[in-house]
Symmetry: C2
DNA sequence: TATTGTTATACTCTATAACTATA
DNA sequence: TATAGTTATAGAGTATAACAATA
């Protein structure tokens, strides 16, 4: 049942990881677009487990703070987020997802059909193995280069 | 040596795949930027193993054909690609990477430091296992949703 | 008629620089 | 002085619609 596979070269593995990263990103962008959201708008919405300062959003999105103003403006005009003053520092504005915003991003996640069906190709044991391996990859990947 | 890990929920695995996909994409974008390329310009360059018609590039990049004109214009003005007439169909223009274009995209690949160091966290056996699992994911992920 | 590539247009994302209000 | 958020600006990516050349 279990043949011995040839070890892939590092370049092959790199290319496969890159291809899947791109495919996953496009799947996310397509799901967001079905709800009238750009990728970045959906990405921002996905960060809002709780209130996050504008500045913190810039860090999470890996972009300049000046961009966040416009992205939040557009989400706010659609009623998906709102700005709240920070009680401790009057310079800070905290961004919070509205109920509609939370519902929308939840639907986007649910509609990542390509990613979902890809994961369905694995049984539970394989998903556990994959999860463990990806967890090992995470510290290196999320380090700033 | 091998503890029995808890199976992750599908949502957990989905979130991890999404996080790593994003991180890998940002790593690629950062490496491209160091060479004065946008993500999309680098992505286009990475497709050019041989001559590709403008229309084919639009399909590969999952964007409208009208966008490809400008992207190729900018790459061509920097000497990284050139347009060639297609001998069989005079409507078609084939895009080809120049030597400088090939060298540049090769360097971008080599400079994806976060991705490289992430892969270095695994030994050969683990990389083989990961490769096998990701290969299983590929057909689902690359399907158009 | 259909297809390829292009142009024109409008919107969004992006970084840089300068501004304001707070700290 | 330093920091948070904004504004102004310019370049790039994006889709839509319309066009010329070719099939």
């Amino acid at each position: 049942m279990t043949a011995t596979p040839q070890p892939p070269t590092k370049a092959q593995l790199l290319e496969l990881v890159a291809a899947l990263g791109t495919a996953q990103w496009q799947d996310f962008a397509a799901a967001a677009a079905r709800h009238g959201l750009t990728s970045v708008q959906a990405k921002l919405l996905a960060q809002l487990k709780g209130p996050v300062p504008m500045r913190g959003l810039a860090t999470l999105l890996v972009c300049d703070a000046s961009n966040v103003t416009g992205i939040v403006d557009r989400l706010e005009s659609r009623g998906l987020v709102r700005r709240e003053p920070d009680p401790r520092d009057r310079r800070v504005k905290n961004v919070v997802a509205t109920d509609e915003g939370l519902e929308t991003i939840q639907r986007v996640r649910a509609e990542m059909q390509a990613t979902h069906s890809a994961l369905d190709a694995l049984d539970e044991e394989e998903r556990t193995a994959l999860y463990g391996l990806l967890e090992r990859l995470r510290p290196g990947l999320e380090r700033r280069g």
